[in-house]
Symmetry: C2
Subunit: 359 residues, 2 copies
């Protein structure tokens, strides 16, 4: 148990959920379902019974430090690693491994996003415990969690599973980035592919070795800091070296290249909540198919909409079908659910017309 | 000139424009068109050049006294008459006449709502000046302004004009309350009917005489206060007697019964702004037929909507046609323009579910 660590990545900006998720308060810091706990807090709650509290780290951008401290008051300041700059997942994952190894060379690490939804907590914990055993017993292995696809989703990365069965931990055959719809359908029908959930497990040594092998431009930088991790010289070192790292995901930099990558296929009720459509799908609905997030409503003749607002907001609506209605203080978004991919374009228009004020 | 008085009625609650107009800040106190002046201020501005400043009175409910003082800083406290209770227009109009007559027995009074729109200010002022002359020369006459109808509106009262022409001041033949659509069409086609704008002119003596003749239950109460109007005993007197008056409009109580009622048919670009439809009609539109009130917008594929919000609110909308989108702090209303008559029903549902908080 004392070798188990968790790195919660919570530095993303979550632009796809605008106007709910804004740069100042991205998605992971929101009480997304109105339950009283934010996605970050739900992430913490999910693993706190199987990982020692002092071994849980939050990895975030400097600007979100106050939010993390406020939402995870159990964490000491030393448990919050602050990235001085955005460099995607590879550099921050490397840093977390060097940092943790300085305290415990036998560390086994779970790396998890903080803005996903996992409905089956118990199954998730069982999978994590099993994964810890696997990476303890297979010291060079990197392990990722794979989700059985239920639709030809084009927004996710896919993993082709080697070996015979999807029911156990198996070697990865190939990684495939977001496919087009035809390819996604082939993947789905083949039964050989799972979604890449971006939840990783490894020993500190394995991932550092993998960086040396696949991304030496990154490990080279962190090797310069050996002896500084876990000391009062770490912050200054990171401030200098971190921004010099390449901006690259751990999938591209390491997972797709490394020799010993495994996937554990899990059924944990997962959604990356990467879109309003995903949110709609995972949310409880009224008999008319409406989803209400955190608002008081008086609704007449409305079907299959999302109404999302802040707690005391009253929404009175009539005659709407298949719309997103999202109100967040100074912004109101109303658009057909089928056009949610255009939200990014609207955000660009907003930026062009009004600057950063509403982002 | 010094005999000219104006009574601005600004005590209404404006429920039809919910959620813009709320009990706390009704429609007349709103900068409705985002011009920087509220409807009340526009009412004041419209008449201030033809009526001495000290002769302009605001008649409102006690709770709105701070709003009136703030919006009409030129008025002294004595120029603001505070109704201790809501009693529709007859009692407050009677009070205003008794009050003004105590200062000037030759007073000629214009009584005007404060929440209407008048686009042709100059024509309005010309009509008022002409009306003052008429009620000066016809000491027992009550005069009302009539608007030539342009549609078979069922929301207004109609006045059948006696005499030959609609172009001058003529005796009133009949008053008709809100007609059904068939009757409204007949009225429109006949050319004999005008809309009752609720803008009245009379001498103080004429209206007091008319109350004695048609509504003695009201004049009886105010006669008890003779000698107190215009003194420091008036407030106490009104607090006691006003709430005992019947709750009735001046149209019902006096205009429809009195012998000497005239109508001046005017073309002043009038709207009572009694509905979102009226607001839509009177507002400038984009080439797609959208009306924007006071909001920043990024709009795609939207036609013939009203988007109404507060100044810094950003509305991003797509795929809406013929809707009202009205956002006011803690309330968002979205409904088809064709269903605006249901807003009252929605407000009742809101009240049933959430109490007075959102009213």
């Amino acid at each position: 148990m004392e070798n188990r660590y968790c790195v919660i990545m919570c530095g993303g900006v979550g632009s796809r959920f605008w106007p709910f998720s804004k740069t100042a308060v991205p998605k992971q810091f929101l009480d997304f379902f109105g339950t009283g706990r934010t996605l970050l807090q739900m992430t913490y709650d999910r693993i706190s019974s199987i990982i020692p509290a002092r071994n849980i780290l939050a990895l975030t951008n400097e600007r979100y430090a106050p939010l993390v401290k406020q939402q995870l008051p159990d964490l000491d300041d030393e448990q919050i690693l602050l990235e001085p700059d955005r460099r995607n997942t590879a550099p921050c994952i490397a840093w977390s491994a060097y940092h943790i190894r300085a305290f415990n060379p036998d560390a086994l690490i779970l790396v998890t996003p903080s803005d996903h939804l996992i409905l089956k907590d118990e199954e998730f914990r069982n999978s994590v415990v099993r994964g810890f055993e696997f990476v303890r017993d297979n010291r060079s292995a990197l392990l990722t969690m794979g989700i059985k696809p239920n639709r030809p989703e084009t927004g996710y990365g896919y993993i082709q599973v080697g070996g015979k069965s999807l029911d156990s931990i198996a070697p990865v055959k190939t990684f495939t980035e977001k496919p087009n719809i035809e390819l996604a359908k082939v993947f789905l029908e083949s039964g050989e592919f799972v979604w890449n959930a971006g939840i990783f497990m490894w020993s500190a040594n394995a991932i550092i070795d993998a960086f040396h092998e696949c991304a030496p431009d990154i490990s080279m930088r962190f090797d310069k800091g050996l002896g500084k991790f876990g000391t009062d010289k770490e912050t200054e070192f990171i401030k200098r070296e971190f921004p010099a790292c390449p901006n690259i995901s751990v999938d591209f930099a390491v997972m797709e290249k490394y020799k010993d990558v495994h996937v554990q296929c899990v059924d944990i009720g997962w959604s990356d909540l990467g879109s309003w459509g995903a949110f709609y799908e995972k949310s409880p609905k009224t008999e008319n198919g409406n989803v209400f997030r955190n608002c008081k409503t008086v609704i007449n003749d409305c079907q299959n909409n999302i109404f999302a607002a802040k707690k005391e907001k009253l929404i009175v609506a009539s005659g709407l079908k298949d719309y997103i209605v999202a109100d967040n203080d100074d912004i109101l978004l109303i658009c057909p659910l089928s056009e949610e991919q255009k939200i990014k374009q609207y955000v660009n228009e907003v930026k062009a017309n009004f600057g950063d004020k509403y982002l």
